[in-house]
């Protein structure tokens, strides 16, 4: 029974990896937006990035 369950589980895992790879999924996180106005092309400053308040690391050792 364990083997049958593991076979099913393994096929699901391999299927998921194949599907993710084929569909071009990514492990990186990003924000997806809809309906960005076409005016951004002419006026890039009108677009506010959600990442613009990022705190930058200025360290080093």
């Amino acid at each position: 029974m364990f083997r049958r369950l593991y076979l099913l589980y393994g096929v699901l895992v391999l299927g998921s990896v194949t599907f993710a790879e084929y569909r071009g999924w990514s492990l990186d996180s990003m924000n997806q937006l809809k309906n960005v106005p076409k005016s951004v092309r002419d006026n890039p400053g009108s677009y506010r990035s959600v990442y613009s308040s990022y705190h930058h690391y200025t360290g080093g050792k």
Binding site: F2, R3, Y6, L7, Y9, G10, V13, L14, S16, V17, T18, A20, E21, R23, G24, W25, S26, L27, D28, S29, M30, N31, Q32, L33, K34, N35, V36, P37, K38, V40, R41, P44, G45, Y47, S49, V50, Y51, S52, Y54, H56, Y57, T58, G59, G60, K61
Partner: protein, 444 residues
């Protein structure tokens, strides 16, 4: 008239005889007449000589020191390995280990054609036991051999202890006595147990096989449920052990398939460059430069991943880029920020470095269309001249999925292996060879 074989010698018919106890007069039924050596009166518990037609008393008691009710009543019939057996005897035996007495029950089963076999029960764990047909092989150089071989199977020594018979009932194929002493040595090879029983008169070897209580209840058509098994018994089979080797072999098969998938996607990935441009930030330019957009570029083919790589010749400095990949046809956008920073130096520990002068990110499932990037770079206030390059490629494989898939495939065999090891540790903790503790505390 034909000359045939001599008539078949049929086994003796089962003989049952009713007698009376010579001590108390209670009726006694002899089910294994002619084969039982001792019979115990169910009323006064006197042990009688079953071979004697007058049932001579072997052992009597002024009072019954202890009583015990068999879970399978005497006279119950059940089919074991295709043969009907009657339960004709019952005894309780015990051993004393570190001042604690551990008791178990033994049932004598009888079939007039097959003879005797036994059932043992300890805290809900049952064993079907028969006398060995061959002498097991043991290392006679030692007082107690650590291994025994029976019919080509290796058994490991589990425990040796002195057992006492505490209570008897029914018929027995030996001259049973309450207070009888024997040294028991058990060797295990789950689900079997090989037992050596040494008395002053003889050495007997028996082979037992673990049975779940529900099988016993079903075999003897007993009412209710069997007592729940407590703990792990010496020859109890681990429920997962049998699957571990198969599971690991299946895992290897899956890992191979995963490698083949990875190679196939690596080989067939287009990694098609669709955009490549360099930019620079000169000293004196504002730290938060105004955003700009790139020239449009086209993504063709099926929906796929898009990799955006940034490389910048930063040295003890950083550049941060707010990106937006925008589909100019549909207005759909992916918004993300990436930092390229690299620091290096030399201190008392030697040279050091951290960060990298390049970075890449994969945008998921981007459909075909016309796209452009909106880029908003940020740098340190006192930045030197920084040149950075932005490159876009479509259909790039993500190796992280294979790592996740590999780990996901690894979890079940590891969990089952751990469960099996824990089970074996619990089993052997009760033996004469307990495993050493995994973690030792200071108090140990």
């Amino acid at each position: 008239m034909s000359v045939g074989q001599p008539p078949l010698q049929l086994p003796p018919k089962p003989a049952v005889k009713a007698l009376n106890c010579p001590k108390c007069g209670a009726s006694i039924t002899l089910r294994a007449l002619g084969q039982a050596v001792a019979v115990v009166c169910t009323s006064c518990h006197s042990i009688l000589d079953a071979k004697d037609p007058h049932l001579q008393i072997i052992q009597t008691f002024e009072r019954i020191t202890s009583t015990d009710a068999p879970l399978i009543p005497l006279g119950t019939r059940g089919k074991i390995r295709g043969t009907d057996y009657d339960v004709i005897g019952f005894q309780r035996r015990s051993i004393k280990v570190e001042g604690i007495r551990y008791a178990w029950h033994e049932y004598v089963l009888f079939n007039p054609y097959k003879g005797f076999r036994y059932l043992t029960e300890y805290q809900g764990h049952w064993n079907d036991v028969a006398i060995c047909k061959e002498q097991p092989i043991v290392d006679t150089r030692f007082r107690i051999s650590l291994e025994a071989n029976y019919l080509g199977e290796e058994y490991k020594h589990f425990q040796t202890a002195d057992a006492t018979t505490d209570f008897v009932l029914g018929e027995f194929p030996w001259e049973v006595r309450v207070g009888e002493q024997a040294t028991l040595t058990d060797y295990v090879h789950p689900p079997r147990v090989l037992s050596r029983e040494k008395t002053s008169a003889e050495i007997t070897w028996s082979i037992g096989e673990y049975l779940p209580g529900k099988d016993i209840w079903s075999t003897f058509h007993l009412a209710g449920d069997p007592p729940e098994a407590i703990g792990i018994y010496e020859n109890q089979p681990c429920p997962v052990s049998a699957n571990i080797k198969t599971l690991w072999m299946t895992f290897v098969g899956f890992a191979v398939v995963l490698c083949v998938l990875m190679i196939a996607f690596e080989v067939h990935a287009k990694r098609e460059p669709v955009f490549h441009t360099s930019y620079q930030m000169n000293p004196g330019m504002p730290a938060g430069e105004a955003s700009f957009v790139t020239e449009p570029f086209e993504l063709t083919g099926r929906t796929s991943s898009v990799e955006i790589s940034t490389s910048a010749a930063v040295q003890n400095n950083w550049i941060y880029l707010n990106y937006a990949l925008i589909n100019q046809d549909t207005g759909e956008a992916w918004d993300f920020g990436r930092e390229v920073s690299f620091y290096s130096g030399y201190d008392s520990d030697g040279s050091w470095s951290e960060g990298a002068q390049s970075d890449s990110v994969v945008v998921p499932s981007v459909p075909a269309g016309h796209y452009y990037l909106r880029i908003e770079p940020e740098v340190d206030r006192n930045h030197p001249r920084i040149v950075y390059t932005v490159e876009v490629k479509r259909d790039v494989p993500v190796l992280g999925f294979y790592a996740i898939g590999f780990l996901a495939l690894l979890i079940p065999p590891i969990v089952l292996t751990w469960r099996s090891l824990s089970f074996e540790r619990a089993r052997w903790a009760e033996s004469d060879h307990p495993p050493s503790p995994i973690l030792k505390t200071e108090s140990d």
